[in-house]
């Protein structure tokens, strides 16, 4: 296993292994950093940032579903400046790719954030056009090709680091958005964000989430993620950060075979803080069991019928 080369390259961002933690599930690394050294990770997608501090949605924000969870956290975050001042320096002490995840209310906000974050020295910017929880803009950007392209252009023109655009699965044809974003100059794509879902408390007759609906993540969505990564990989020629339901090395390997250059682990951390490390070790084991030298050889290796 030690023989396997785990390093990958995601749109020019070099990572020592392909396992990233997904935005919003790992904060800025402090909490899970109590369990293990963050250097174990390939990278971190930080909690989604907005231009100004946001308190997020009212609770309850979490509901459990069969092999999944719904969340309606709603982009609670300290704002991009506070991130740069209070979180980034600490993160930079570590050897892992720092990917800032951003959401804006307008294309201009995306631009401003990209400028600040590029200057502050993050390794990559992940442009969230797909957060289903914020009424203003969030959903629309991710479901309309023209808007997605506009945000992408704005982010690109204000960034000096690679820009990765994060796609929503709540669309009829994800390749349409992927193409629009690729044409607009994105350096990479990440997918999938959460599927929209709902759970109702029978006794109170209330939706469990105060926002009524929320984003579904966790193992339940893995097959949708694999399908969409494959479709997007077939449709556009950009590196992909695959995510959605990864809990084990096998899940990650499926996403890589489908076309992902790296994978993110999100919800699985909640059950098991060590999930990202186990996914990494599982990937290494699978790679060597298949007689490969490099984990990156898995990428796009699926042989469709």
């Amino acid at each position: 296993m030690s023989k396997v080369d785990l390093s990958v390259d995601l749109a020019g961002v070099k990572m020592k292994n392909p396992v990233v933690v997904a935005s919003g599930t790992f904060g800025f690394g402090r909490e899970y950093g109590q369990f293990y050294n963050l250097n174990e990770l390939g990278g971190i997608c930080c909690k989604g940032l907005t231009l100004h501090r946001r308190e997020g949605n009212p609770p309850p924000r979490i509901a459990e579903t069969p092999m999944g969870i719904l969340n309606s956290v709603g982009l609670q975050n300290p704002g991009v400046d506070a991130f740069i001042e209070h979180e980034l320096p600490e993160l930079k002490q570590h050897d892992l790719a720092i990917i800032a995840n951003i959401s804006g209310n307008t294309p201009e906000e995306y631009g401003v954030m990209c400028e600040k974050l590029s200057a502050a020295g993050v390794d990559m910017i992940e442009v969230n056009i797909s957060c289903p929880n914020v009424k203003a803009g969030g959903l629309a950007y991710g479901t309309k090709p023209e808007l997605a392209a506009e945000v992408t252009r704005m982010a690109k023109s204000h960034s000096t680091v690679p820009v990765m655009v994060k796609l929503s699965p709540n669309v009829t044809d994800i390749t349409e958005i992927a193409r629009a974003v690729a044409d607009a100059g994105a350096d990479a794509l990440s997918l999938i964000n959460t599927l929209r879902g709902m759970r109702i408390d029978l006794n109170t007759r209330r939706p469990i989430l105060k926002m009524n609906t929320g984003g579904l993540s966790g193992p339940a969505v893995l097959p949708v993620a694999v399908r969409m990564v494959w479709e997007v990989a077939c449709a556009v020629d950009l590196p992909i950060l695959g995510m959605g339901g990864v809990a084990r090395g096998e899940d990650a390997a499926q996403l890589m075979l489908a076309g992902a250059s790296a994978v993110a682990v999100g919800t699985a951390c909640f059950a098991d803080p060590y999930a990202p490390i186990k996914v990494r070790d599982g990937l290494a084991q699978i790679t060597s069991a298949q007689g490969l030298d490099k984990v990156s050889d898995l990428t796009g290796g699926v042989r469709p019928w």
Binding site: G24, T25, F26, G27, R30, E31, Y32, Q34, F35, K47, E55, G56, N57, P58, P59, P60, R61, I62, A63, E64, P66, M67, G68, I69, N71, V73, Q76, I208, G218, P219, T267, C269, F270, A271, D272, P273, Y274
Partner: protein
């Protein structure tokens, strides 16, 4: 610093039709990681459930080779149902210590107010202050009562209430609390745990009498460690705090009780 610990259940007993008491071997969580009553453990409940379940610690003991922690829980849904089915000798996967317990000192003269499954987490505070505390314990009915003797053994006084009058005083704990404070305001703190409407009332009464009040809150959790921002509670100043990281114990004055 929280750790993941595979804990052997060394004692499992049923307190009443719905409530179970487990004593867990928690490794060095008490001696090394400072686990104390009022903090919580995040317990993995069965293969089919994705999320862990937060359960408060009701008593701890520093022991060799294993510290122990006692948890008491009621069966509410699938997770607690699974947990209730575990036997002494079986193991559960636990994250802890998590959250902050009550801010008290051994000198405090505490007024403990627990409702239902909010009763257990206060027991450790009674023990810690060595018999000086007064406790008000409320239950839906006599058959739901639990830990009454434990409280009697560890408190100066114990008052019992029930919603239906089948045990102790007929009525809610805040009425009992008011009666006590009317006679004696000399408590250093009211500590309360129970359903949110009860906590709201308790906080109000304590405020009226000018006694500092700490409440232990519940919210639906994912990570349990502060990473997901799932377990938000709204504060009076409009900001959000998080039960798992900033709580579960909050100063009652900070909480926005109107949501």
């Amino acid at each position: 610093m929280p750790i993941e610990q595979i804990c052997t259940i060394v004692e499992a007993s049923k307190l009443n039709e719905y409530a179970y008491s487990f004593t867990l071997e928690v490794g060095d969580m008490v001696t090394r990681h400072g686990l104390k009553a009022g903090q919580f453990l995040h317990i993995a409940c069965g293969e089919g459930l994705l999320l862990r379940r937060p359960i408060s610690v009701c008593q701890v003991e520093a022991n060799a080779p294993h510290d122990t922690a006692r948890v008491v829980f009621e069966v509410r849904g699938e997770g607690t149902h699974w947990l209730a089915g575990r036997q002494a000798g079986e193991k559960v996967n636990v994250l802890g210590p998590l959250g902050n317990g009550f801010a008290i000192s051994t000198d405090d003269r505490l007024l403990l107010v627990g409702g239902g499954i909010g009763v257990p987490p206060l027991l450790g505070q009674a023990v810690y202050t060595a018999g000086k505390a007064t406790a008000v314990l409320g239950f839906r009915s006599a058959d739901r009562a639990m830990l009454v003797e434990d409280y009697q053994d560890n408190c100066a006084e114990v008052y019992l209430c029930s919603d239906d009058g089948s045990l102790g005083r007929h009525g809610f704990v805040d009425a009992q609390l008011r009666d006590i404070l009317e006679k004696d305001k000399n408590f250093t703190a009211v500590l309360a745990c129970g359903p949110k409407p009860m906590l709201k009332n308790v906080a109000k009464v304590a405020a009226e009498f000018g006694v500092p009040c700490q409440v232990s809150l519940e919210e639906r959790m994912a990570c349990g460690v502060g990473a997901c921002l799932g377990c938000a509670v709204q504060m009076a100043d409009g900001t959000m705090k998080h039960v798992c990281k900033d709580g579960p114990v909050f100063d009652a004055k900070e909480v926005d009780w109107n949501v």
